[in-house]
């Protein structure tokens, strides 16, 4: 066990801190994705290697060798300084790695640099109303008509559809092939005629997602990534890449601390709620779970560094992390009694109503990105080596 990062990383951390101190004023604070300040900040981050760090220089990245600890130090220091780490989004996190892996040279040239610079925003078109857990049953079709694909169908859970310039989209191009083999990975512009975007209001009251409808949307033939019919493999190639943990332990720690503070401030009949033994016991129970998950996360990080096996430890983080967050937000509501109900424009809200908002949002995350049931199937089959359910008579 060695929980220090070592001297060479201490030096690197100093460099990051120096950069942040010198450049803080240039960082956007609440400015939008398209704002000049955000775009120039993104450019500066890439120049210094704090964004697009491992993307080759030839495509507009910084060109550094992958180093997990450096990435983590960057994330830690930016978070500590509360300074934007530049643009995120599915274009940078998902499409760019995909293109690097299976794109043609022309596609890499065309798409990666503007995506990294924030000049080209993307949304993702995977899920459909009828294809959620069973994503491979998707039905949005693309039929070749001369030099163009004609796309018809509907996508859902498209989070930045209203902002995006382009979409990367799974479509069925071979209707007679087995369900995993008839899918292609298609790129097209969101201003193409025939695309309708409807905001999808969710239980929080916000429209965090959209529905996107395609009616005879015409897409140039060469905008397929990978081979026609290989879309399932293309999409899964990046699902294997590192994704942000949905149960981010640092965010959970911040919420835990905020809850402990809240319990010191709020009172019931003059008694601070932290002094209410039953609420305090619930808080401590969650702290214990949280610590176990934090150390589990350290273990996963370390295993990636040292090529050790921690696959089961990694497999459970989404399931456990989202459940813990949901429970933590729920405790905050409970301790507040009636005040826990304040929402919307209610001036009695505590912490901007974030407890109720996150309580619902994390229920969404428990479901999204693979429901708990799908997670448990994966844990039992891949983690514990248990058999799959037997195939059914009529299964396709």
């Amino acid at each position: 066990m060695d929980l220090s990062y070592g001297p060479e990383y201490d030096t690197f951390r100093s460099e990051v801190q120096t950069f942040l101190a010198a450049n803080a004023s240039a960082a956007p604070r609440g400015e939008g994705l398209r704002s000049p300040k955000m775009l120039s900040w993104q450019k500066r981050l890439i120049e210094h290697g704090y964004a697009a760090r491992t993307i080759p220089k030839a495509y507009g990245g910084y060109g550094a060798a992958p180093d997990i600890l450096q990435s983590r130090i960057i994330a830690e220091e930016f978070a500590r300084a509360q300074i934007s780490q530049g643009m995120g989004g599915q274009g940078i996190s998902m499409l760019v790695p995909t293109l690097l892996e299976v794109g043609t040279e022309a596609q890499k040239e065309q798409f990666i640099r503007p995506t990294l610079l924030g000049e080209m925003l993307w949304c993702q078109g995977y899920s459909e109303p009828g294809a959620g857990s069973d994503l491979a049953s998707l039905r949005t079709s693309a039929v070749l008509d001369g030099d163009e694909w004609v796309v018809n169908g509907q996508k859902i859970w498209t989070s930045t559809a209203h902002l995006a310039d382009w979409i990367f989209c799974l479509v069925r191009t071979e209707p007679n092939a087995p369900k995993h083999k008839g899918i292609s990975f298609l790129l097209f512009r969101m201003d193409t005629p025939g695309i309708e975007i409807r905001p999808l209001v969710d239980m929080t009251g916000n429209a965090n997602f959209n529905e996107v409808f395609f009616t005879d949307v015409r897409v140039p033939k060469d905008q397929v990534v990978g081979r026609r019919g290989d879309g399932w493999l293309v999409a899964n190639a990046i699902l294997g890449h590192e994704r942000d943990s949905l149960g981010n332990p640092d965010a959970t720690l911040a919420r835990f601390n905020a809850l402990a503070e809240l319990m010191k401030i709020e009172t019931l009949n003059g008694q601070r709620l932290i002094d209410h033994p039953v609420y305090r016991d619930r808080l401590m129970t969650l702290q214990g779970r949280m610590m176990a998950l934090r150390y589990n996360d350290l273990r996963v990080l370390s295993a990636r560094l040292n090529q050790a096996d921690a696959s089961l430890a990694r497999m459970i983080t989404k399931l456990e992390g989202t459940e813990l967050r949901h429970a933590l937000e729920g405790l905050a509501i409970d301790i507040m009694g009636e005040f826990g109900l304040a929402y919307g424009d209610n001036p009695l809200k505590r912490d901007h109503g974030s407890w109720q908002y996150q309580y619902m949002y994390f229920l969404g995350l428990i479901i999204g990105g693979g429901t708990s049931q799908i997670q448990k199937n994966i844990i039992s089959e891949r983690g514990l080596g248990m058999p799959k359910e037997p195939k059914l008579d009529r299964a396709g």
């Binding site: 857990s133 209001v201 239980m203 507040m336 304040a342 059914l392 009529r394």
Partner: protein, 355 residues
């Protein structure tokens, strides 16, 4: 021995259920969420006798009991119905029945659905933040956060020490700030009192305590209805939704989630019946049972609300199916008039197991 509903109770419940299903479906609830108007619903319920249910026959009411009221509350929860039932249909007539000074004229107007009464007892449950309400010489000063059934003509309010007053909404010195909670099927407001003249309904804290028990059972009954709705929708959705070439209702994980909900929820029905009955007929037990009913049904409701949303997958998270109206209704019922931890402490006190 009959532990169950009478024919009359079944008929009453069915008539309310039919009315709500026809006249107050989810779209109507959605309209309330933006417009805040439930007058047509309350008028329809008045035709069925709902506001008159607990009003004595001598004052133009039906003179039924708390169990009957709980059955109505369950139906209102089942449809997430906006209505001033808790204050108008329950708190006011019970205050009169249990010895509070309420004029027959007001009771008659309430029974006819012509006058609405909100209820603001939070300070007698437990003071939070700057909540405080005191009376001196019949004049009220202070704040009650979270009055229920706001938008009423009058409010029943409890002081910190458990005296009960009736106050007109337009009384000088009273300011009413309507505000949002998560539950947009209800109207909630903050009441500010600056030397407001109220009419004393009763100064024995036992009256407020008894009203609280009744309202807690009603909130629990509302949760029973809401959770039953969520379970019903889960079963229906699971039968119709297909993934991996089969209805998800054929997956054992989904079936067991539904079974877990049913197993936890079904005993809550008997508990509500017993608690409603006890309010009228078993004074020795009523308080303990009300505390436990409020706490237990809130816990079950919370679990059902989460599980049901999960059974619906992403759809459960959206506004499209509107399942969240019930999720939030259950949340509201849990937080109001005593959280589960507070109720369990109160239950312990009622048995001499806590100071």
């Amino acid at each position: 021995m009959e532990f169950g509903l009478s024919r009359e109770q079944t008929l009453l419940t069915d008539s309310v259920a039919r009315f709500l299903s026809k006249e107050a479906p989810l779209d109507r609830v959605r309209r309330f969420a933006t417009e805040g108007d439930d007058r047509d619903i309350w008028a329809g319920l008045a035709e069925l006798g709902v506001p008159a249910l607990l009003v004595p026959e001598s004052a133009g009411g039906v003179g039924l009991g708390c169990l009957d009221a709980a059955l109505i509350a369950e139906q209102l929860g089942y449809r997430a119905t906006p209505s001033p039932f808790l204050g108008t249909g329950v708190a006011l007539p019970l205050a009169a029945r249990w010895g509070g000074r309420i004029g027959d004229e007001l009771l008659a107007a309430v029974a006819a659905g012509e006058r609405r009464v909100g209820v603001a007892l939070a300070n007698a449950v437990g003071r939070r933040a700057d909540a405080t309400l005191s009376s001196a010489g019949g004049r009220l000063d202070g704040i009650v956060h979270f009055a229920m059934d706001a938008g009423a003509d009058d409010y029943l309010v409890a002081t910190d020490t458990g005296a009960l007053y009736l106050v007109a909404a337009d009384a000088p010195g009273l300011s009413i700030k309507a505000f949002d909670t998560i539950d947009r099927s209800r109207r909630t407001a903050e009441l500010h009192f600056a030397g407001v003249t109220g009419s004393l309904v009763g100064d024995d804290p036992a009256l407020v305590a008894r009203l609280l028990d009744a309202l807690r059972v009603m909130l629990a009954a509302d949760t029973l209805g809401a959770a039953q709705q969520m379970l019903d929708q889960s079963v229906a959705y699971a039968k119709q939704r297909e993934q991996f070439n089969r209805p998800i209702a054929t997956f054992q994980a989904v079936k067991h989630m539904c079974a877990d909900m049913a197993a936890a929820l079904e005993p809550c029905r008997a508990m509500i019946w017993y608690a409603g009955h006890a309010l009228d007929h078993m004074p020795d037990e009523a308080h303990l049972v009300a505390c436990h009913t409020k706490a237990h049904v809130a816990e079950v409701g919370k679990a059902v609300a989460k599980t049901s949303t999960e059974v619906h997958g992403g759809m459960g998270f959206t506004d499209l199916v509107g399942l969240h109206y019930w999720f939030k209704r259950v949340g509201y019922n849990r937080q109001m008039l005593g959280t589960p931890e507070m109720m369990r402490l109160e239950a312990a006190r009622a048995q001499g197991l806590a100071a």
